[in-house]
């Protein structure tokens, strides 16, 4: 007689979920991560420096004090952060952005102590942190590169040969470079030798690595980036592009989506290629690929940021997806609940970064006490911030105090809402960059898209 197999009374096994998560960052991003934790029923534990530990946004929260105010002894102290996570019984660490977010050593240290690091696997992070291997991986996956050398340059003669091929002007860059160091421009064949030697010497002094590579210098152009989200099972989606061309000293000021200048064909081609490239390198979590839009309208790959970005809210507003919650779910082993077809892009979104700097005094940073703070509200207005009336901005960290994100059915409506929101934002006690943002948003050049990464439309007035 056939025996009946009893059905299991238990539902199918669900992937695990973190109960406690350490936020290894501060300020606005810490608040943002905590919001996603609250939505998922996770207890966030804030790792804070002594300068931040008493802030009002940490009241009634679990806070663990890492060390003194300076970042090297608190937010950059890997051992203290991992010890803090273990001591507070956290099983996951969210690094936010900046500080240790793109540090493969920190990611590996977390994994070694049984903590889930919310980012890609350390090997992928290491690959994308190196310039020429990242270029080669992306080219193999079908993205268009800025024309340049295939790898490390052997000698001045090698550099001259490559430069003659790709065309002048060219940029010699350090393989381990960053922060604008170890970079030299050569505008003709005569300048190659001097540029090569200067860049090599600077790279050796700054990074103890004098390997160089070469790219054609694209002057101006628009800075466009693509938001990627991937799970551990090879599923990758993109959340559209963001145009971040308005910058000052390589610091982004305003970001918007969709890009008002990108052609539909080029957008579609690069979005597909970017998702395929992320899949090919085994990417996991949220990441961003940065491109330069050249004068022919071609998007050329620059680099990949293996973390959540400050301007992720722009993509969230257009798609309605909570990127931080997705990041946590993916890290806990869940599959992406979204398919590319299910993601819809609505209207236009724009973000302004409000810094505590005085635009009338050459952007002098202004730490101090905010005596009165009131954030605007209304349809299509989102404000991400950690400040409040009475908040003291510490001098140890960067000057971002708030992000205002507005959305509308088209660019004109989103911009109009932004101008309205910025006019109604009250911040007394410290100067902010709001007057500069208003000047930009009202300028005819901004409306007509007549700018690139070199110039700020409408500023200086």
């Amino acid at each position: 007689m056939e025996r009946e197999i009893p059905r299991s009374p238990n539902p199918p096994r669900m992937p695990r979920m973190f109960h406690r998560l350490l936020i290894a960052n501060r300020g606005e991003v810490a608040v943002r991560i905590a919001r996603a934790c609250d939505a998922l029923g996770i207890t966030p534990v804030f790792a804070a420096s002594a300068a931040d530990a008493d802030a009002a946004h940490l009241q009634d929260r679990e806070v663990v004090c890492l060390g003194p105010g300076r970042a090297s002894e608190s937010y950059l102290n890997m051992q203290a952060l991992v010890q803090a996570a273990r001591q507070t019984r956290c099983t996951a660490v969210h690094p936010g952005w900046g500080f240790l977010a793109e540090n493969p050593t920190f990611a590996a240290l977390c994994e070694a102590h049984g903590l889930s690091f919310l980012g890609p696997p350390p090997a992928v992070m290491r690959l994308m942190g190196k310039k020429t291997p990242a270029r080669q991986a992306m080219a193999a996956a079908g993205l268009t590169l800025i024309p340049g050398s295939d790898g490390i340059l052997d000698s001045v003669d090698d550099a001259r040969a490559v430069a003659d091929e790709v065309g002048y002007p060219v940029l010699l860059k350090a393989e381990s470079g960053g922060g604008g160091k170890g970079m030299r421009v050569a505008r003709s064949a005569d300048e190659i030798a001097a540029a090569f030697n200067d860049a090599q010497a600077e790279a050796r002094a700054a990074f103890a690595d004098d390997r160089l590579y070469l790219e054609r210098l694209i002057e101006g152009g628009r800075h466009i980036e693509i938001q990627i989200m991937a799970d551990r099972y090879g599923n990758v989606v993109h959340l559209g592009e963001r145009d971040c061309s308005i910058q000052r000293n390589h610091q982004k000021l305003i970001e918007e989506s969709p890009s008002p200048v990108l052609s539909a064909d080029e957008r579609e081609r690069t979005l597909q290629a970017a998702a395929a490239a992320a899949q090919q390198i085994g990417y996991v979590g949220a990441g961003t690929m940065e491109f330069l839009l050249d004068s022919e309208g071609v998007l050329r790959f620059m680099e990949m940021n293996t973390r959540l970005q400050v301007e992720h809210c722009v993509s969230e507003e257009r798609t309605g997806i909570d990127l931080v919650a997705e990041q946590i779910l993916v890290a806990a082993g869940h599959r992406l609940a979204l398919t590319q077809e299910a993601i819809t892009f609505e209207g236009h979104a724009i973000e302004c970064r409000i810094n505590a700097e005085d635009p009338s005094d050459n952007f002098r940073p202004a730490p101090g006490v905010i005596s009165k703070w009131a954030a605007p509200q209304g349809p299509g207005i989102r404000v991400d911030t950690h400040v409040h009336s009475g908040y003291e901005i510490p001098p140890h960290y960067d000057s971002l105090i708030c992000k205002v994100i507005t959305s509308g059915k088209d660019r004109a409506q989103a911009v109009a809402r932004m101008i309205d929101a910025l006019e109604r934002l009250t911040c007394i006690g410290v100067p902010t960059t709001i007057p500069m943002h208003l000047a930009i948003l009202r300028s005819p050049k901004f409306a007509a898209n007549d700018y690139d990464t070199r110039s700020i439309p409408g500023w200086p007035r």
Binding site: L66, P68, A80, P365, D398, S399
Partner: protein, 200 residues
């Protein structure tokens, strides 16, 4: 060998409560083990056990100007735990300086260090540097003459560096540096006196 080479010696900072007791503050986050038992007399330089951070033991020693008898562990800490979890800056140990007749009277710290003269104040909070780079000479030294507009130091505010020049109402020029009130790399608040000078 490797383990010992990574060990650091930590000296806790301390505060004073109403009864005159000294309260040592945790110098690092970690697990505190081998703490002295209550009633133990302590002197500067003596061991207070160690703080374990990811398996590495860092020694904790009694700071200068602290002597007395351990009277209690910090509030909220479990005195019976073999390894007491600490976070930075929490009170870890209360020391009674009057008990035990050690004769090690606690000296007043810098409070009575009164220097006169006009002062150049920090224009903003930030980190003060006395030189442009670690291998460069100091901008100014005590006893040196300074003139209006001369650079006396750098202030790092929110990751950007600003020159601090010798200018301000009520400052004599030329002047002689009497004292430099902050160390190289110290955090300062707006209005803190950086340099004291007297007219030449």
């Amino acid at each position: 060998m490797q383990l010992t080479s990574r060990r650091k010696t930590l000296k806790p900072k301390f505060t004073r409560d109403d009864q005159g007791n000294l309260c040592l503050l945790a110098p690092a986050l970690g697990l505190w083990r081998d703490r002295p038992s209550l009633g133990t007399p302590v002197m500067p330089g003596m061991s207070l056990g160690c703080i374990e951070v990811l398996g590495v033991l860092h020694d904790v020693v009694v700071p200068e100007k602290v002597a007395g008898v351990c009277s209690a562990v910090g509030e909220g800490l479990d005195p019976d735990a073999a390894r007491i979890p600490l976070t930075f800056g929490t009170p870890m140990l209360v020391i009674d300086p009057k008990a035990g007749n050690l004769g090690g009277e606690v000296q007043q710290a810098h409070e009575d260090n009164q220097t006169t003269g006009a002062g150049l104040c920090a224009p903003s909070s930030g980190r003060f540097y006395r030189r442009a780079a670690p291998h460069k000479p100091f901008f100014i030294e005590v006893g040196q003459e300074v003139r209006e507009g001369q650079v006396v130091g750098l202030l790092e505010i929110m990751k950007t560096f600003h020159r601090i020049t010798f200018t301000g109402p009520g400052l004599p020029s030329p002047a002689r540096v009497v004292a430099i009130e902050v160390e190289d790399g110290d955090d300062v608040r707006a209005g803190d006196v950086l340099v004291r000078v007297e007219p030449v």
